[in-house]
């Protein structure tokens, strides 16, 4: 019909950098002058034409990364930060290596089923080479398992022990310190804070494994667990009856093993009851973003909390400034973790010289990070992707809230101080303990 019309496919259009894609619809839908790809048997070829395989010495020219983040749902404020950090890493990598990094965003909705659907589509239809994300451990496990079955490397941020333990998967790596790493770092400080603790944990894999390991670590350090409650969630805002339990127990401290916005709601309710003054409060896998949504006074309730990174960890001032300048959220742990994930995935691809999933995986296993901007962000730390369980062995930090008067907002919110930093290797489970067989 129209000899000048080139065959425009949906995939090609989605792939144009940034911006809106234009799709010719309807009237010309049947027009197809050259048919050099198979549309007859269902068009089931999922490999993108941009994927370059081969062992050129300089590596691939273009890589495609999928960001699996919660842009809606109970972790929604976390999503934007993952995108921001990915864009930062992309800019750095493109400058250093002269490649093009394509970024595709996928909303996990903090729902494992939806996330897996999107991963399937991302790999099969959009042709991503690798992926990172998965704030919720349930989402991470579901995506990671599928990705591994299909040879797609995936670096996750979910912290449940099972992700590098019983449910470890061949192509899944974890950037964030595990629940055990965090618990072991915080055990002694917690026992110093209070002798008896009540554990409130959200009833999904992260909370369930978290409370187990925190409970045992407390006992090891001479404190007692007076009681524990499984609270619904993620996505639950009502903690009344559980706070009742806490108040009526003899506990001197309450451990909030509650993620995301649920933690924010719980903190608010603790404050309403005045319990933040009476008890020592611990937040597991602490994120300043939780407290930034309240106010400085509420934030001062945090007596102790283990985390992978806060913006008061020394080093990486330039990185922190860039994140703050990007405008959305002040720098916190997810920025750092997302940056590390993208950085490491692309570097592994460059080292491997290919975007093949298995080759990238081999490059990551056992790799020690020495020559990357990540080393500038935490200068005195050592980083290694442990081969036996794919955990990134990196430092774990314990934080506490500053005095309200010292909480500053300039150049970005710094409300929490690092009270202790532990090398990852000192607190990680041994390879046998993990129960992972890779």
């Amino acid at each position: 019909m129209f000899p000048l019309m080139s065959r425009l496919t949906r995939r090609d259009l989605l792939r144009t950098a940034g911006g809106t894609s234009a799709i010719g619809v309807g009237l010309l839908a049947g027009c197809n002058s050259d048919a050099d790809t198979d549309t007859g048997d269902g068009g089931d070829s999922g490999s993108p034409t941009a994927q370059v395989t081969g062992t050129t010495t300089s590596g691939p020219d273009e890589v495609s990364v999928g960001v699996f983040a919660p842009y809606s749902g109970p972790f929604a404020p976390w999503g934007g930060s993952m995108t921001t950090a990915t864009e930062l890493a992309k800019a750095d990598l493109e400058a250093e290596f002269d490649i093009t990094v394509q970024v595709h965003e996928y909303d996990t909705e903090t729902d494992p089923a939806a996330a897996q659907e999107r991963m399937q589509r991302a790999v099969t239809s959009d042709g991503i080479d690798f992926a990172h994300g998965g704030v919720s451990s349930a989402v991470a496990g579901s995506i990671g398992s599928w990705a591994s079955d299909n040879g797609v490397p995936f670096i996750t941020q979910g912290a449940s022990d099972t992700l590098t333990g019983a449910d470890c998967a061949s192509h899944m790596f974890r950037a964030y310190p595990s629940n055990t790493m965090m618990a072991r770092s915080v055990g002694a400080p917690m026992a110093d804070e209070a002798d008896s603790w009540y554990l409130l944990y959200t009833n999904y894999i992260w909370g369930q494994t978290g409370q187990e390991v925190i409970g045992s670590v407390l006992e090891e350090n001479g404190a007692t667990v007076v009681g524990k409650d499984a609270v619904p969630g993620p996505g639950n805002q009502d903690f009344t009856q559980y706070i009742n339990n806490v108040e009526n127990s003899d506990a001197d401290g309450v451990a909030m093993i509650v993620p995301g916005l649920d933690a924010r709601a719980a903190a608010g309710q603790l404050r309403n009851r005045g319990l933040d003054e009476e008890l020592s409060v611990m937040f597991h896998q602490f994120e300043d973003l939780v407290m930034w949504g309240l106010d400085e006074e509420a934030a001062s309730m945090v007596d102790v909390g283990p985390t992978g990174w806060v913006n008061t960890v020394s080093g990486g001032d330039e990185f922190k400034q860039r994140v703050a300048d990007a405008g959305e959220t002040d720098p916190f742990s997810r920025h750092y973790m997302a940056y590390v994930s993208v950085d490491q995935l692309v570097r592994a691809a460059m080292r491997a010289g290919t975007t093949d999933g298995d080759d990238i995986r081999s490059e990551l296993e056992g790799h020690e990070i020495t020559d990357s901007p990540v080393n500038d962000i935490q200068p005195d730390a050592s980083f290694q992707w442990r081969a036996c369980d794919h955990q990134l062995i990196q430092p774990t930090h314990v934080v506490a809230a500053r005095e309200t008067s010292e909480m500053t907002g300039d150049p970005y919110k710094q409300w929490f101080d690092v009270t202790d930093t532990v090398a990852g290797g000192d607190v990680a489970r041994s390879c046998e303990e993990t129960g992972c067989s890779l």
Binding site: P74, D238, T240, Q241, N244, L261, G274
Partner: protein, 342 residues
């Protein structure tokens, strides 16, 4: 033995079966046991349960009215509730009015929404199979949820609590968050007002007549369509009011509508479709079951040393378990009327 039998016979004369007496007895023993073991906590959870129950009643009241008086299964009720919360956000955070202003403005806005929906959709389904109304409002709920998501986004939002309602109030034996206490007060007032409206005014009388025999009532000059519209608007407004209170207390998100419609339905069904009193009783019953069951199980596990009894997170399942038990024993709910919605 003869004395026991005599007592049972006396009890049976009241129309209560021995099985019911036995169950009641066991429940009382378990509750007493829990109270004895953890008195302070028991009181906390008991009062907390009453508070939560009145919140449930407030939310369920609108649905119960619409179901009982109009015979329409309003699946969009949860969406009204959610819309109430989001409109509060709009009114308080975006437009800068006070919370107290929102308390009046938002239900009015919801009444307008109710009017639009009644005129557009519901007046076609009054005489049809109740399933039609259910499905139509189901679709409406979907539309409202998506519209909410489109306007305010998919992230959870929150509204600042007015200063006087922050923090908790100590009642001697227990502490309650002031915001929750305020919600209870509002709930009690609304229930009382609705009761008076339905039972003690001519307006209410004409509506009850219209429900019993619509043709006859219309023949006698009662403007039934007008009354149906007004009742639907009232139900929507009450749902909106619930949304204002809940949104201010705990924030809001787009999943809120679906979550609440389920629990609201459970409350109404357990109470018995068509009975306002039933909704109040079932709301309190379900709330107490949610709050006290974990405590009862925990104390029982302690005493018997069987840790498995203490099922974690059972509170969330209690409304459904209560519904199963109640419906098996009384197929029409606690105070349901025969032939209604069957």
């Amino acid at each position: 033995m003869g004395r026991v039998r005599a007592v049972l016979r006396d009890v049976e004369r009241f129309g209560v079966s021995p099985a019911a007496v036995l169950t009641a007895g066991i429940l009382l023993v378990l509750l007493a046991h829990a109270f004895v073991m953890r008195p302070g906590l028991f009181v906390d959870q008991f009062v907390g349960g009453l508070v939560y129950g009145m919140i449930l009643v407030l939310v369920a009241l609108g649905l119960s009215i619409i179901l009982g008086l109009l015979g329409v299964v309003n699946f969009a009720h949860g969406a009204f509730f959610m819309l109430g919360a989001y409109l509060t956000f709009q009114v308080v955070v975006q437009w800068g009015l006070s919370f107290w202003a929102a308390l009046f403005v938002v239900p009015l806005l919801l009444a307008v929404v109710g009017f639009a929906i009644e005129r557009a959709v519901l007046r076609h389904v009054y005489d049809e199979n109740p399933l039609i109304g259910l499905l139509a409002t189901f679709g409406l709920a979907l539309m409202l949820t998506e519209a909410t998501r489109a306007v305010w986004g998919g992230s959870p939002l929150s509204v600042p609590t007015p200063p006087v309602l922050q923090e908790s109030l100590s009642l001697g034996v227990t502490t309650i968050a002031r915001m929750r206490l305020f919600t209870v007060v509002v709930s009690v007032l609304v229930v009382a007002a609705v009761y008076l409206l339905i039972e003690r005014t001519d307006f209410g009388l004409s509506i009850r007549a219209g429900v019993l025999d619509r043709e006859m009532a219309e023949f006698l000059g009662v403007n039934i369509p007008l009354r149906f519209v007004l009742i639907f608007m009232l139900g929507a407004a009450i749902a909106g009011l619930g949304g204002v209170l809940r949104g201010t207390e705990l924030g809001m998100d787009v999943a809120m509508g679906n979550q609440f419609i389920i629990i609201t339905f459970v409350v109404v069904v357990v109470g018995g479709v068509g009975s306002l009193f039933g909704s109040v009783v079932s709301g309190l019953l379900i709330a107490e079951a949610t709050y006290l069951t974990p405590l009862v199980l925990a104390t029982l596990a302690e005493t018997t040393n069987v840790a498995a009894i203490n099922v974690s997170g059972i509170g969330g399942l209690m409304p459904f378990l209560v519904m199963i038990v109640v419906l098996l024993v009384r197929p029409r709910g606690l105070f349901g009327q025969k032939g209604f919605m069957e």
